[in-house]
Symmetry: C2
Subunit: 209 residues, 2 copies
């Protein structure tokens, strides 16, 4: 049995606490308390609370950029899109503390601002790539203005679904349900699908409920 290094346990515990009670409400004392180590020990591994946040953001950024590398000219199926959305929402859920206090967190750690914006842009691009693939295949019937609006809407929903969802059960912030997010994302796209594909997509979307 491998022993998890304290440094990694700090990251792990912090992430869990951030997600469940919100990053601004988590003190370094709470983290060390939860782990049964001393505050001093925590500061031996990280020179500040901000450093913990930043390192978690590094992980998030890696996961996201990796996920968002969508091939520009491949033919993407509805199935593949569903799978992609599923992974996307899972990643968002893992780091949901970021999204739940997004404006706040980014206003305090301004090195993260530009990096987050870059990820947002990549998200929009990924959605656009998928939609354009659908359009090329005749699955999606949409003009330019609608496409722009749709992609921005998808980005907004991908960003804020998790926060919107926790509003409904602010009492226990542990439970998350990425599925309903995927369902909503699909229903943004469905009205623009060719009639032939619409029913299939609707059936598929229900699997995520």
């Amino acid at each position: 049995m491998k022993k998890i290094k304290t440094r990694d346990r700090i990251l792990q515990t912090s992430l869990a606490l951030f997600n469940s009670v919100g990053e601004p409400n988590v003190t370094t004392l709470l983290i060390s308390d939860e782990m049964d180590i001393s505050p001093g020990n925590l500061y031996y591994h990280f020179k500040s609370k901000g450093d913990i946040v930043e390192e978690l953001f590094d992980q998030y950024e890696l996961d996201m950029l990796d996920l968002l590398t969508v091939p520009e000219d491949a033919d993407i199926s509805l199935d593949q899109q569903g799978f992609f959305l599923h992974l996307l929402f899972e990643t968002v859920a893992r780091y949901r503390f970021l999204y739940q206090d997004l404006v706040n967190v980014l206003s305090r750690y301004d090195q993260l601002r530009v990096r987050f914006k870059r990820i947002q842009k990549k998200k929009t691009s990924a959605f656009r790539a998928i939609c354009e693939s659908f359009r090329r295949q005749g699955t999606l019937i949409i003009d330019q203005e609608e496409l722009d609006s749709l992609c921005e809407q998808l980005t907004l929903t991908a960003c804020y679904w998790s926060a919107f969802d926790t509003l409904s059960h602010l009492d226990d912030r542990e439970s998350v349900d990425p599925g309903r997010g995927v369902y909503h994302m699909m229903h943004l796209v469905i009205p623009y699908l060719a009639p032939a594909d619409r029913e299939e997509a609707r059936l598929m979307s229900r699997d995520y409920l």
Copy 2:
């Protein structure tokens, strides 16, 4: 010339500061400083910072509930819907500090949670009333599942557009643009409109850009 009472100036200044730098970043000292009064004076009028937040929330709640009283069975026109959305986004923009740190604020002032949820529900109901009016008039062609999804999506967008928009210009949080929000809301509805009404709605939506 009428002199504004200190108590009201505190509310006014707090709201402005909350909106521009975020409620969690605003201290009672910053408020009193900005107004050129002493911290003690501030605490003569409000026994805590939370009381200021709550009183601002009272105003917000009044404004919102008033706005959301949508007649259940009247025939609503596209124009009227546009006007409604415009007012809605203006109100959200006035109290945008609430939305920008929503999870955080509601987690610290838990008396506000249930009240906010109630307002959210009323919003969804209002959207549903409008959509159902459209449907009765033959303007909107949509089945039940799609309608549910659409109304929830409208609620999400109404809630988070302002926060999503400030992400783009986190540098100056003063400027707000409710127009683009209205535009997006309309584009959520447009795909479900009867073909005859779609073009009119698209033209109308562009006025809000």
